[in-house]
């Protein structure tokens, strides 16, 4: 429960864990730039390096493979643009970017920016109706002239519908063709076992605030032999890949959260899946024509344990959101907004969901503070809310 009521938007951001608050606040009042050579600097450097080791351990990487960033969006930008620029500088013909059609905008818009300004050719890898990139799809795209591909980027698990990608298989294929592959694991990390080292991934994005760490800090996990061109230039911190004074308190908070999240991941996943399964069952009981978005196989191999996604035929997502919000239930339409104007989700459209149905979508996402009372609140409200939203229809605002 949040201050107001039922918080079911943990995929947007989740409350900080007490361990992370403690680690972060312990550093807030202390001076010391980790790049300084004096005692205060060394003390800060020690916290950063211990945090780096802790995060590396949590994601299955080596400490030298952790590049701290200002969050997931920055790490995605660094991976996509940095790999593209570096690969093209090695060979000017490498201008293709292969990315799944269901990527977060941080990946998608980085690729589109490269297409617009840097002559990249972006190919969106199609997904099946559950939002999954099939290994043969990537294989086919790479089989056509792999030498012209700068990079591949496929998220570990989708933020809207929770679909888990066959990331190990995809990474293996990319490597067989000698092409680097990045994965945005922002949603997967903490909910699923994420072990960078056991995959063929070259780069992977994680962020603090989705796992109970602070906002504004994340990391790009970058294999040691993979070079990329920096996006931020300056003091040469972080292997010269990401300049900028390191945010010691936030990094300490991120590492503390990562340790806890990974240690408790198995039990947490079970708890979230239990609540989620109950929600799915009860929403369907009240609204029989609600369409579950994403993979109907709710096991963690297929779907994030904390994710439930529904489309309600004949409803506008923003009307559902308004009506639930008025009843103290906080969730998301799951789609991107520009100036707060809801657009039909590119993820759902890529999955072949018709635009009308896509517009009536809601994402409920569970996290470490979720309880059975949250499920009860939704189950009690959803019937009346859907009836009301259906009465308002989709025709009110659109012609």
């Amino acid at each position: 429960m949040s201050e107001r009521g039922t918080y079911l938007d943990h995929a947007a951001t989740t409350p900080m864990l007490p361990e992370a608050v403690e680690a972060m606040t312990a550093r807030l009042g202390l001076v010391g730039n980790p790049s300084s050579l004096h005692a205060a600097g060394r003390a800060a450097r020690r916290v950063v390096e211990e945090s780096r080791e802790a995060l590396a351990q949590a994601v299955g990487a080596r400490p030298s493979e952790v590049v701290f960033t200002g969050g997931g969006t920055e790490a995605d930008n660094l991976a996509v643009k940095g790999l593209y620029w570096h690969r093209r500088s090695e060979s000017p013909g490498r201008t293709r970017i292969l990315a799944s059609a269901v990527e977060h905008h941080a990946v998608m818009d980085s690729a589109l920016w490269l297409a617009e300004h840097e002559a990249a050719q972006v190919e969106w890898l199609p997904v099946d109706r559950f939002g999954r990139v099939l290994p043969e799809t990537l294989e086919a795209a790479l089989a056509q002239d792999a030498d012209s591909v700068a990079l591949v980027s496929v998220m570990w698990a989708n933020n809207e519908v929770g679909t888990v990608q066959p990331i190990a298989a995809l990474a293996e294929i990319a490597h067989a063709h000698g092409v680097p592959i990045h994965s945005d694991a922002v949603q997967a990390f903490g909910q699923l076992p994420v072990d960078f080292g056991s995959t063929d991934l070259d780069a992977m994005t994680v962020t603090g605030h989705k796992i109970g760490g602070p906002l504004g800090v994340g990391a790009l996990v970058l294999r040691r032999n993979v070079a990329l061109t920096p996006v931020l230039h300056g003091g040469g911190q972080e292997r010269d890949v990401r300049s900028g004074t390191l945010d010691t308190p936030a990094i300490a908070g991120l590492a503390a959260a990562a340790e806890v999240a990974v240690k408790r991941q198995p039990e947490r996943a079970e708890q979230l899946a239990g609540l989620r399964d109950d929600l799915v069952r009860r929403v369907r009981a009240v609204v029989p024509d609600a369409v579950l978005g994403g993979d109907p196989d709710l096991s963690a191999a297929h779907r994030l344990p904390g994710n439930a996604h529904f489309s309600f035929p004949g409803c506008e997502g923003d009307a559902l959101l308004l009506l639930l919000d008025a009843r103290g239930i906080e969730c998301s339409t799951g789609s991107a907004c520009s100036a707060g104007v809801p657009q039909p989700s590119h993820v759902l459209l890529a999955m072949g969901i018709p635009e009308d149905l896509a517009r009536g979508s809601l994402r409920f996402s569970f996290g470490h503070t979720s309880t059975a009372a949250d499920v009860d609140a939704v189950a009690e409200a959803i019937g009346a809310v859907v009836d009301r939203a259906r009465g308002a229809g989709q025709t009110g605002l659109r012609t």
Partner: protein, 354 residues
């Protein structure tokens, strides 16, 4: 009551929402996104619907302490207001897009959706009053906006709430400052919100292209050429670019626009006088006139209301208005709003004048 407050990002709608809260209503704010590709920032005092306006509206909702959403009405607005505006000009008429927006967007699309979602009323920052179900002029004559609300039917008025009608603009600005609303000093919006640079004829030229024709005087003599009759409005004096001066040396005004022949007729100020008009598409918020009704007729947003006699046509789709005092520069397409004292009776769209 559950009230939906339309918040433009300006001072008026912010104070209106705050007053609805103060009156004890359960208020939710919405910003109407009327453009698919909004400008990032306001240019000058004009317009609305920039991202900055959306942000201002959101900040006002935060300060007032109400939920806030953005509703996408871009498609409806383009179709019902902008396309209609262009089509009206193309047909030689002079539309008022603000009336159209109130009729079709704020008090149809938004009100219908609000009612369907369980709200009881839509609250806006218009300066007008509703007393015992009747739409009345605002007490601040200079700000009165009952004219642009004249298109509302009785049902629409029943679903409307105008908390500012009893105040002057000065009071509203002061109240905004007292309430800590950052928009207190924001300049008033004016003109046509979807023509950000104020260049209406440029906007129309872009959409209607070049359509050259003649400018003739009332005797039928050609006195000039033009590039598109839509760039003219009845009563217009400036920008006629007539090479030859009138024989009597008096200024000339646009008297008539005939889109089919692309002819613009000009003449003297006297010839602009109108003593009567016929209007269609009547919409009544008060009791529709039975027989000949003495009333006041207002013919433009900031014009004075002249004594008049209004009659409904036989088929109810028409209204005939006889003006007791001649009015000048009345263009087809404009709305005539009829008043009984301060109370709006209804409105209709002017078809022809005499």
């Amino acid at each position: 009551m559950k009230v939906l407050a339309a918040m433009s990002g300006g001072v008026d709608s912010a104070v209106a929402a705050a007053r609805a809260v103060a009156a004890g209503h359960d208020v939710t704010g919405v910003h109407l996104a009327l453009s698919r590709n909004p400008q990032s920032f306001r240019s000058g005092a004009r317009g609305c619907c920039t991202l900055e306006d959306a942000r201002d509206a959101r900040r006002a909702a935060d300060v007032i302490g109400i939920p806030f959403y953005v509703w996408d009405l871009a498609d409806r607005f383009r179709q019902d207001v902008v396309d209609d505006f262009v089509a009206e000009y193309a047909a030689g008429r002079t539309p008022n897009p603000c009336l159209r927006c109130n009729e079709k967007i704020k008090f149809t699309a938004v009100l219908d959706k609000a009612l369907a979602l369980g709200f009881d009323a839509v609250c806006t920052g218009h300066y007008a009053r509703i007393v015992a179900g009747r739409l009345l002029r605002a007490v601040d004559e200079g700000k009165d906006q009952s004219y642009v609300l004249g298109v509302l039917t009785a049902d629409q008025v029943a679903g409307a709430m105008f908390p500012l009608g009893t105040s002057t603009k000065q009071v509203v600005r002061r109240e905004a400052a007292d309430r800590g609303l950052a928009v207190a000093e924001k300049p008033d919006s004016h003109d046509i919100c979807f023509i950000a640079d104020g260049d209406t004829s440029g906007f129309l030229r872009q959409r209607l292209g070049s359509a050259p024709g003649s400018i003739v005087d009332s005797s039928g003599t050609t006195v000039g050429e033009h590039d598109g009759a839509y760039a003219f409005t009845v009563g217009q004096r400036r920008g006629l670019r007539i090479a030859r001066p009138a024989p009597d040396g008096r200024p000339r005004y646009v008297l008539d626009i005939s889109p089919v022949t692309r002819t613009v007729t000009v003449g003297t100020a006297d010839e602009l006088d109108v003593v009567g008009l016929t209007a269609n598409r009547p919409r009544w918020s008060g009791p529709p006139p039975q027989g000949a009704v003495e009333c006041l007729a207002q013919l433009r947003a900031h014009g004075e209301a002249v004594p008049a006699v209004a009659r409904r046509g036989p088929d109810d789709g028409q209204v005939d208005v006889e003006l007791r005092r001649p009015a000048r520069g009345i263009a087809p397409g404009q709305a005539v709003v009829l008043y009984d004292g301060d109370a709006v009776i209804g409105s209709a769209t002017i078809v022809s004048t005499r």
